[in-house]
């Protein structure tokens, strides 16, 4: 093996092992990890977890209800794409929160995405994300498996991105040059160039960057002593306005990808799976009724999928609002009866050991968010 200058510098300083160590904070080193799967475009919760016990479902969107459903209980079933997640549900290492959303009702992707990442109910109000702020308080770092650093992770120092380059005939950055470029600047850009000084050089021919390979990389990174304690993986194209499909098609294939990410993380995190919480996040759900092009338009309530940790209390956590016209938000969308920030703060509490009151005040800036930890997790 050729030891390049970067490896030499990194190991001789021992900095890599120091980088992710907790700063002064509430938590001890033994506490867990959090993986967020971002579902971009507005994930249709009624297609992922169809409420088969509600007959209005079939009246409103018969074409979009898969035939080969995986039964969860009398009221709910899973999309056939979620095979592995179904196993997790059965062994109580998975759970669904249904009829939930961030507090946002205006149906714009871009406002909705900003709110789901910032965790603040006014769009574009802050420049940091709820996960970034939580990591900052816990004294951990996070990693995004993407070219850019999403808003979700901003607000914390030491965060990194991983998305290996595939440009032929180029070497990775020279660490010394990166440091000169860092010194010529200040602030975030400077810190980012400085991080290249320590970054592991990836052989760009071999590295893969499909979501499953990225999930594998995330698992390995999360397992490292002193490595990142949070990872963010994005799955795109949930904006299914047309030809959404049921037993196959766009939604099915997107959901299967999500299912495989859960499974990859479970396998690759090994014993650390028990201390890792995996949670999905989307900007909004979609209309209950099918539209003119066999798709669905922007809506409100959706569903969240959770897995990992040391067990969940229930398969489905919900205060089901019903699908009769009168029960719907604006007469068209699934109502959200659970504030998804409650779910996220429970995940943060469980993963990082931060107290609930502290999270809602310092991470979500809203002291009214209720605590759902006891309702979701077996041991809280």
């Amino acid at each position: 093996m050729v030891v390049n200058r970067r490896h030499f510098l990194a190991s001789s300083l021992g900095y890599l092992t120091l980088l992710g160590w907790p700063r002064a904070g509430f938590t001890d080193v033994k506490s867990g990890r959090l993986v967020v799967i971002l579902l971009e475009g507005g994930m249709d919760g009624l297609a992922a977890v169809p409420p088969i016990g509600d007959m209005a479902l079939f009246d409103q969107r018969r074409e979009l209800v898969p035939k080969n459903l995986l039964e969860v209980d009398r009221h709910f079933a899973l999309n056939p794409a979620l095979k592995n997640f179904n196993m997790l549900l059965k062994s109580s290492f998975g759970s669904i929160v249904h009829a939930t959303n961030m507090p946002y009702k205006r149906r714009s992707h871009f406002e909705g995405q900003n709110i789901m990442e910032s965790g603040i109910s006014t769009p574009f109000a802050v420049k940091t994300g709820w996960l970034g702020r939580a990591l900052d308080l816990a004294g951990f770092s996070g990693e995004s498996l993407s070219l850019n650093l999403p808003l979700l992770l901003r607000g914390n120092k030491g965060n990194d991105t991983y998305y290996p380059a595939k440009i032929k005939k180029t070497d990775g950055p020279d660490p010394m040059i990166a440091r000169y470029l860092a010194n010529a600047r200040s602030g975030m850009v400077s810190e980012t160039f400085e991080s290249l000084y320590f970054k592991e050089n990836i052989n760009n021919r071999r590295a893969r960057r499909d979501p499953i390979s990225l999930a594998k990389h995330a698992a390995v990174a999360l397992r490292k002593v002193g490595g990142p304690r949070a990872a963010v993986i994005k799955v795109k194209r949930f904006d299914t306005h047309a030809n959404q499909g049921a037993d196959s098609g766009v939604f099915f294939s997107r959901m299967r990808l999500v299912d495989n990410i859960f499974e990859t993380l479970r396998v690759k995190l090994e014993e650390d799976w028990e201390t890792t919480i995996v949670v999905t996040l989307t900007e909004f759900g979609r209309t209950v009724a099918v539209n003119g092009s066999l798709g669905t338009d922007h809506g409100y309530g959706s569903a969240g999928l959770l897995a990992g940790g040391d067990g969940f209390k229930e398969k489905v956590v919900t205060d089901w609002p019903g699908l009769q016209k009168i029960d719907l938000h604006d007469g068209r969308d699934l109502m959200a009866t659970v504030d998804y920030r409650s779910v996220l703060s429970s995940c943060l509490e469980k993963a990082f050991g931060l107290p609930h009151d502290f999270i809602i005040e310092k991470v979500f800036f809203d002291p009214k968010i209720s605590r759902l930890t006891d309702r979701i997790f077996l041991r809280s």
Binding site: L147, L149, Y163, I167, I177, L181, M188, V189
Partner: protein, 485 residues
């Protein structure tokens, strides 16, 4: 930061310094198509005729591509491996947009109208069309024809021409939107057993209001969106669908400049933002779209939204209220004449030289190549054997996170530096710089570029830390002054 970096792609090795007069001349020039035959070849003034496609040609190519793909997939005499090989070949040969991708690069690096190009990419990004259902075949037409000509006219005309363009109608699903009370809708209701699907699709309506014109600050309602969708119903069809096309040819309905099918259009009055749009008794309702768009274009929320966005792109990421209102009043006074609006943006940009202005990775890449007289892009004759990017530069665009032909969201590429600041993005900057130095044959040295652009002392000091010309090259091109932050 040198003005030629802020509003253009920098100066070619023998190009005169950019003055306001020259910038304005560039802005108002008609496009000259510039390209190279081969990577080492000298510039030519025209692209070969067979590579400049009309909209009709593009739509035909998209249809051909789709039907060939279906034929291969359905062919039962082929095994899956043979299918894969054939599909791969089809994808390589149906490469119309690869030429578009090259053309974008060539024009930026070698063209004599970089200022004009920069304003065109601003609008192309504003009216983002991601790749889906054949749109990569059409988006080049949106750029060179609709926007290229549109920036010489009013915003209302531009907005109208973009909205009814096959690329936009397809990308935001309007091609599926059929009014429930249209002729087709009524037929569907009368024949329920035939299971004809009709209904509105509000995707384009929503983004027309939110992204393209008034923005959420106008506080429109879901009813406004729905009524906008009704006005838009009937516009467009599945342009890459062979069967649809054959049916339309029979009906004589294949005019791509006004792609409207009146028996798909929702009849009756529609109220949007308090104004009633009512087609006359003998009218198909086709003209309501133009009427609506003219109102949206002169709405004060639209003017505010776009004045701010122009300032963010060319002047400062967080523009001052004074700058925004300056552009706003030019917009009001000229009734949305983009030539006047753009002239005001340019005048303001020339006065803001000292403000930092972050540049997109794509703008930055093109300006390195232009300034150093270098080129890493293939000539159009060597597209098949492109050593770096497998045709057209799509790989490079993808690597730096800025491929206009990719699948992406309709809000376009961010104008904010923070969205382009990550370890992987910085890694890409240093790699691209390295690639240009090693394989792009820079024609002049770092010292010459520093001198020509009159770069700051800080930048000179930074570059002097490099021990070799290669190190100097990376330090200069990735310097704050060059990158704009």
């Amino acid at each position: 930061m040198n003005i030629s970096l802020r509003v253009g792609y920098g100066l070619k090795p023998n190009e005169d310094a950019l003055t306001l007069t020259r910038a304005l001349t560039q802005l108002n020039s008609s496009a000259r198509q510039i390209g190279v035959r081969s990577r080492s070849g000298s510039p030519i003034e025209k692209w070969p005729k067979e590579l400049t496609y009309s909209l009709e040609d593009r739509v035909k190519e998209a249809r051909l591509f789709r039907s060939s793909r279906e034929q291969i997939k359905r062919n039962q005499n082929l095994n899956s491996e043979q299918k894969m090989t054939l599909l791969r070949r089809l994808r390589r040969e149906s490469n119309l947009w690869h030429f578009d991708q090259l053309r974008l690069a060539h024009q930026a690096i070698l063209g004599d109208d970089p200022v004009r190009q920069r304003f065109m990419t601003f609008w192309w990004n504003h009216f983002s069309v991601g790749n889906t259902k054949g749109t990569r075949f059409y988006t080049g037409d949106l750029y060179w024809n609709v926007i290229g000509n549109g920036i010489q006219g009013t915003f209302a005309e531009l907005l109208y021409n973009v909205t009814k363009h096959p690329a936009m109608l397809t990308y935001l699903d309007n091609v599926y939107s059929i009014g429930e009370n249209s002729d087709k809708g009524v037929r569907a209701k009368l024949n329920p057993d035939r299971r004809i699907r009709v209904g509105l699709n509000d995707n384009l309506a929503r983004e027309l209001l939110e992204l393209h014109s008034v923005s959420t600050s106008a506080n429109y309602s879901e009813v406004d969106i729905k009524n906008t969708a009704k006005i838009l119903s009937g516009w467009g069809w599945q342009f890459n669908g062979e069967r649809v096309w054959k049916r339309l040819v029979k009906l004589g309905l294949t005019d791509l400049s006004e792609p409207f099918i009146d028996h798909h259009h929702e009849p009756g009055e529609k109220v949007v933002l308090g104004k009633t749009y009512s087609p006359g008794i003998f009218s198909s309702g086709q003209e309501s779209l133009k009427e609506l768009i003219e109102d949206l274009a002169r709405n004060k929320h639209t003017i505010r939204h776009l004045s701010k966005k122009l300032c963010q792109h060319f002047i400062n990421e967080n523009p001052s209220e004074k700058d925004i209102s300056l552009i706003e009043s030019a917009w009001h006074d000229s009734k949305g004449d983009l030539r006047v609006v753009h002239r005001n943006v340019l005048e303001r940009a020339f006065k803001a030289i000292n403000q930092p202005k972050f540049q997109w990775p794509l703008t930055w890449t093109f300006s390195i190549l232009r300034k150093f007289g270098a080129n890493i892009f293939a000539g159009w004759e060597e597209l098949e054997s492109d050593p770096f990017f497998d045709g057209g530069g799509s790989r490079l665009y993808r690597e730096i996170g800025q491929n206009f032909w990719s699948k992406r969201q309709p809000d376009g590429f961010s104008l904010k530096q923070e969205d382009w600041t990550s370890s992987e993005h910085m890694d890409r900057r240093m790699r691209v710089s390295n690639l240009v130095f090693s394989y792009g044959n820079p024609g002049i040295s770092c010292d010459e570029v520093i001198g020509r652009l009159g770069m700051a002392r800080k930048t000179r000091n930074l570059v002097s830390k490099g021990r070799t010309e290669a190190e100097k090259f990376t330090l200069l091109t990735c310097s704050p002054e060059f990158m704009g932050g």
